[in-house]
Symmetry: C2
Subunit: 278 residues, 2 copies
Amino acid sequence: MRLVKSITETKKIIKLEKNKGKIIGFVPTMGYLHKGHLSLVHIARRKSEFLVVSIFVNPTQFSPDEDLKKYPRDMKRDLKSLKQEGTDLVFYPSVKQIYPSDYKTYVQIKDLSRLLCGVSRPHHFRGVTTVVLKLFNIIKPDIAVFGQKDYQQAVIIKRMVKDLCLNIKILLGKIIREKDGLAMSSRNIYLSTQQRENATVLYQSLKWVKWSFNDGLTNPKKAIKKIRVMIKQNSGKVDYIVAVNKNTLEPVKRLKKGTLIALAAYFGKTRLIDNTIL
Amino acid sequence: MRLVKSITETKKIIKLEKNKGKIIGFVPTMGYLHKGHLSLVHIARRKSEFLVVSIFVNPTQFSPDEDLKKYPRDMKRDLKSLKQEGTDLVFYPSVKQIYPSDYKTYVQIKDLSRLLCGVSRPHHFRGVTTVVLKLFNIIKPDIAVFGQKDYQQAVIIKRMVKDLCLNIKILLGKIIREKDGLAMSSRNIYLSTQQRENATVLYQSLKWVKWSFNDGLTNPKKAIKKIRVMIKQNSGKVDYIVAVNKNTLEPVKRLKKGTLIALAAYFGKTRLIDNTIL
């Protein structure tokens, strides 16, 4: 496994591998890898012949009041896990390399970036699409794997790839959960024992919707209201709960097969997200 | 010379040529080609082994009150000229292909897009960078040639290429002028005989600055004031006249070697631009 910081060096290595006709697989991460990330790396490994994972805590997707500085890092553990998964190259550029002082270019996806997480995090997805496009241009992957946990992100990246005529197949890895159902997230370590326990309500409420939908519930307002109550009863502060079309992210009038139920809530200062597709 | 409308087909052809190891040259145009365009095609021809020219009147770089609909077109004459220049492939997609109804992705370059032409045309450069990035992703050129007449555009494209880590060398072709000095432009045909005559003041005023600078003029305000008077005396309505750093496009305090003098002015309803580097 090679560890490369430089953009030029990474491009050089990729070019050599591409010239050998190898399929390049890619998983972009912000490090502090958990089983969720590793499941994406695993998918990419199976689908590619040269596997690149990037570790870059991307400042442009955090707002000034967010947790950029204290975002958890553990490079040593990350590298060990990535080696075990058969990663060929770990790209871990510095902030200065990705955003030199005269940096000015941003990619924006209309509409999709303003909904759901985009309401409370208005510049978040602009940061995500910008850095992912840069990483795509450096790594030139044939396939890239994103997690379903960040479902809106995946929709937005797919839109960007199609709109910009990039030749990259975007694959989605399913949500990996703790034993009690909490979706794995690098931010889970911020939770106190009590908050950690309360946060399981997110998955419980999504399971409740699935069951109720199977039992005949089709009214999205009813479903959302009930989830809101469940989260509040567990000391969570709801950011949003939506029932939307899984491609356009626009609200649906009736729940149906394929409807995306997505939510975000705070437990203490920690914002968690989760979702399910009916 | 091949004529291709389809994005997929174009990508396929380019891939074959790249696999042969050929250097791909590219000149994006909006058609209605004049000697200015053809000089860029000529440069690209000399520097590349497979030459692509695109013809696409890009709607996203026009504002609603601009001349999109009546923008001049002459495909037959364009193709004849491009064949003479040794073009290998002419890519002329439809608007629907480039911007399908669910299109949502835009590229923006901060600061640089808001200055000079960006003041009176606030969305213009967003449209330019978006379409050029798409064309770059389709054609994957090694070199691309832009005109110095659209100097700000060239600075912005260069910035985008660097910021997004694209492997494309951007070359600049010098301004090609009519015998009386008017910079060639597809929009010159809009001018009445009188306006056409008046418009020569643009080049005359730029020549005046060059001479005066060589004679010791260093005060940008003085230079700008004088040019303003010259244009007004010739019935032109000034949009902007600036003396700026040729890389940052920020105003300079003193004229020096390398300072960009750029201007835009209306003659009747026709907006013309021109520039010179001291």
